[in-house]
């Protein structure tokens, strides 16, 4: 279809902006000046605004990205599993560096943040198709085949397990479900939860969820029942349910597995939420990295409509109507923050909103909205079926139920584990086959790095909270390099809206680099700590409020690693070496620098 028609087939509504850009990008491999003009005219936006949306997201671009576009994951686990060698072969075969397009225009190479495949790294998204467990040899064949014009989907060798094999997915991704617990993976009869919900009053549904003390599973841990209650009580209509399927925290991938194997439960959970808060419309915001699951998810939605668990008069209810649409992201970690997600779902740059007002007050399309994580919604559906008492019989007093953990890194059995809250890190490491673990990153890049003396601590909201990401590091890993890698991630993913996050993370990384280069002093460590607190305190959203954690938690738990590389005897070492910095000018002026002073030759 010509680009012009692609633009015109979309509604003349600014909220369609990201959808139009996505289609144009898919067709032309870029959004050209001409396309920007067309889109702006069609949606009645300024061209600068259209450009602003294009340049915000990883998977959109104003410049050509090649006939085939490779987005090679650049997460810590990917680096641990041999990314460097794989990247080298990509560059060699394509004949260009990452960030560039090959001279013949056939292949574009680009890095991207964690794509949710930490249990099967190194991995890449190539023309929307996922490639996992990449090796130099595989990459060589892959690039040659792409260059010969073969579609990426045809290059997927063996399919993974479960629904990954379905005709609608056909992915080489494997589920790696290592432990099936009773909540998420227990036997479930389709529609059970929705039927139960409509047999109760919405207030009773909310009451049951409150009694279960369900806390949000995405990481922040807000009480779900309370959120639904707030949303329900808002006078403005309509209300919306939004499912946050934008898990971007490095090292997490459990929602990928849930969306693959339990999508009906996710949608049932959304319907239950819709019933509880008085919504008739739900939106699943799916991260672009998981776009390969979309046809599968659409088919499941269609099935639920046929079975009357979605649509009008659901499960025989005279009053309850609810349906779900899927909105795609375009590559941006910050969109996992609920208000940024809403902005993105409305077709804008994914910049977080000021809070208050909270989404339950003013959310999607400025209406009261409950935004819940994939796992939270599934869990809520199951609580409704089996009751709060059943749920509270598992876990700890403040963290009832089970949690899905995404385990990756230096262990024998990476994958998804459904476990009761309250288990110790040691117990988890045992299950995962990581006897010699030296450090564990709990909760992803924004979480905490702990060492052996903390392995007796419990995974729970009261002790070690996590949205699910568990990265394991063996004793041979350089933890401070890993912390530096996490800082690179936050620098890249900051939306740039507020000063402390936009600038502070860069300053923190620069300071960390100084320390890693061996030029650090105790003063530098003190500054790392105080600047880290500054960024946490002053930032506008959860990203900046947690981005200094890689530095702060390693300073707290691995201080000895820092102490070993700083100069203990000096009060201060400048940021730069004066002699080195003046070398070029000294050469040009035929002078010779001597210990910071300059003398004639």
């Amino acid at each position: 279809m010509p680009e012009k028609d692609i633009v015109l087939k979309h509604p003349k509504d600014p909220s369609a902006l990201l959808d139009v850009i996505r289609d144009v990008q898919a067709r032309s491999g870029r959004v050209s000046d001409a396309a920007v003009g067309r889109i702006a005219a069609h949606l009645k936006l300024s061209e600068a605004e259209v450009r602003g949306a294009v340049t915000f997201y990883h998977f959109f671009s104003l410049d050509p990205r090649g006939a085939s576009t490779v987005y090679l994951n650049d997460s810590i686990t990917s680096r641990m599993k041999g990314r460097q060698a794989v990247a080298g072969v990509f560059e060699e075969e394509a004949g260009c560096r990452f960030g560039e397009v090959s001279p013949d225009g056939s292949i574009g190479l680009f890095p991207t943040s964690c794509i949710g495949m930490s249990d099967q790294e190194p991995s890449a998204v190539i023309d929307g198709v996922i490639f996992t467990n990449l090796t130099p040899l595989k990459v060589r064949h892959l690039v040659r085949a792409l260059r010969a014009g073969r579609p990426a989907q045809d290059l997927v060798g063996e399919y993974g397990d479960g629904a990954n094999q379905s005709d609608l997915v056909r992915a080489m991704v494997v589920n790696n479900i290592r432990r099936r617990g009773p909540v998420l993976f227990g036997p479930h009869q389709l529609g059970e939860a929705v039927r139960k919900a409509v047999s109760m009053t919405p207030e009773a549904v909310i009451e049951e969820i409150k009694r279960a003390r369900l806390l949000g599973r995405g990481g922040a841990g807000f009480p779900t029942g309370l959120k639904w209650d707030f949303c329900r009580r808002e006078q403005q209509a309509p209300h919306y349910v939004v499912c946050n399927a934008d898990e971007g925290e490095p090292g997490t991938f459990k929602d990928r597995v849930v969306l693959t194997e339990l999508p009906d439960l996710v949608f049932e959970g959304m319907a239950v939420a819709g019933y509880a808060v008085g919504a008739e419309e739900g939106v699943l915001y799916l991260r672009a990295e998981y776009a390969y699951l979309r046809p599968h998810l659409e088919a499941v939605l269609a099935g639920l409509r046929r079975a009357n668990f979605l649509g009008r008069n659901i499960a025989g209810s005279p009053t309850f109507h609810f349906d779900i649409t899927i909105k795609l992201g375009a590559g941006a970690y910050v969109c996992g923050e609920e208000s940024a997600l809403l902005e993105s779902a409305e077709g804008k740059r994914g910049e977080p909103r000021n809070r208050p007002p909270f989404p339950v007050q003013i959310g999607y399309r400025d209406r009261p909205t409950t935004v819940n994580n994939v796992e939270t919604l599934c869990t809520a559906a199951r609580i409704l079926v089996h009751g709060a008492a059943w749920f509270c019989s598992m876990g700890t007093p403040k963290s009832s139920g089970t949690k899905l953990l995404s385990v990756s890194g230096d262990c024998e059995r990476p994958g998804v584990y459904e476990l009761e809250f309250g288990l110790t890190v040691d117990e988890l490491l045992d299950m995962a086959g990581a006897k010699d673990a030296f450090a564990v990153q709990v909760g992803g890049a924004s979480g905490t790095m702990i060492g052996r003396r903390d392995f007796g601590r419990r995974i729970s909201f009261e002790d070690l909270p996590t949205g699910g990401s568990i990265m394991i590091f063996g004793p041979w890993r350089d933890l401070l390099e890993i912390a530096a890698g996490f800082m690179d991630f936050f620098i890249e993913e900051s939306c740039g809206w507020c000063t402390p996050c936009r600038v502070g993370n860069v300053l923190l990384k620069k300071k960390l680099e100084k320390v890693l280069s061996g030029r650090g002093t105790r003063q530098d460590l003190a500054e790392l700590e105080s600047w880290g607190k500054l960024v946490k305190t002053m930032s506008r959203c959860g990203l900046g409020q947690t981005s200094p954690h890689p530095i702060l938690s390693t300073l707290q738990n691995f201080r000895e690693l820092y102490d070993a590389i700083i100069d203990q005897n000096k009060e201060h070492v400048p940021e730069f070496d004066l002699t080195e910095a003046t070398l070029e000018s000294a050469r040009l002026t035929h002078r010779r620098p001597i210990l910071g002073e300059t003398a004639h030759e």
Binding site: K44, A48, R51, E492, E493, C495, T499, L507, M538, R540
Partner: protein
């Protein structure tokens, strides 16, 4: 109308419901330093300089609505240092050379640095490479001085309500873009407003350099925020 009672640094104050902390403070003669805030524009809380503390929680005073009974901490040493740090961040993350800048004396960033007693920044200068967009006929956008306050994005629309300025990119590289097509048709008065709204020297009118002599400029005689007490006393 119900009146809200609250306090700032122990001083008993009154406010109208719905006022932001910045507005409420101002009407009680208390100055809270702001930069991205601009009266009449939707507050965005991007610079974070107005951060205050209430009940141990930090919040941007320009976006947070005042609530009954709030005990706000404003001019306390640790907060003042945090604000100074933010101002320093803005200085080191741009290329700000006050003596050569047309906005010097009218610049709110410079004035805040004086008022908040910034000396040498605690952070290393980052010396970013930034571009200047001088294609628009009436104005130029010098990104070296931009602090991403988003005043231009919020305030300068064409007659159809389209944004003449828009946010671009992400992260530390985040920029402000000026729409070539719309800027080409920008009326003189709108261009002047864009330049006047800009707190720094990032948006300047072409052909109008240094019309106002140094020494007669906005902050040449009294620090930024000096007007607050006067207005409250009216």
């Amino acid at each position: 109308m119900n009146e809200i009672t609250f306090s700032i640094d122990g001083k008993a104050c009154k406010a109208r419901p719905g006022q932001t902390i910045v507005e409420a403070a101002k009407s009680n003669g208390v100055y809270i330093p702001t930069l991205c805030h601009f009266e009449g524009l939707r507050p965005v809380g991007s610079c974070r300089i107005c951060t205050v503390r209430s009940g141990g929680r930090y919040m941007a005073a320009c976006t947070q609505v005042i609530l009954e009974g709030m005990a706000i901490e404003n001019a306390v040493p640790d907060l003042e240092d945090l604000r100074r740090a933010i101002i320093e961040m803005l200085f080191v993350s741009g290329n700000h050379f006050c003596p050569a800048c047309e906005k010097s004396g009218n610049c709110e960033l410079q004035a805040l640095a004086y008022r908040c007693q910034m000396l040498a920044p605690r952070f290393p200068y980052l010396w970013p490479v930034r571009t200047i967009d001088a294609q628009a006929p009436r104005l130029m956008l010098d990104r070296n001085r931009c602090v991403r306050c988003l005043r231009c994005v919020r305030g300068i629309l064409n007659k159809d309500g389209k944004k003449v300025f828009a946010a671009g990119l992400r992260s530390y590289e985040a920029t402000i873009e000026v729409d070539r097509t719309l800027a080409a048709d920008l009326a003189e008065e709108d261009a002047r407003r864009a330049a006047d709204n800009c707190p720094v020297g990032a948006i300047l009118l072409k052909g109008k350099g240094f019309a106002q002599p140094i020494g007669t400029r906005r902050f040449d005689h009294a620090p930024i925020g000096s007007d607050v007490k006067k207005e409250a006393g009216r």
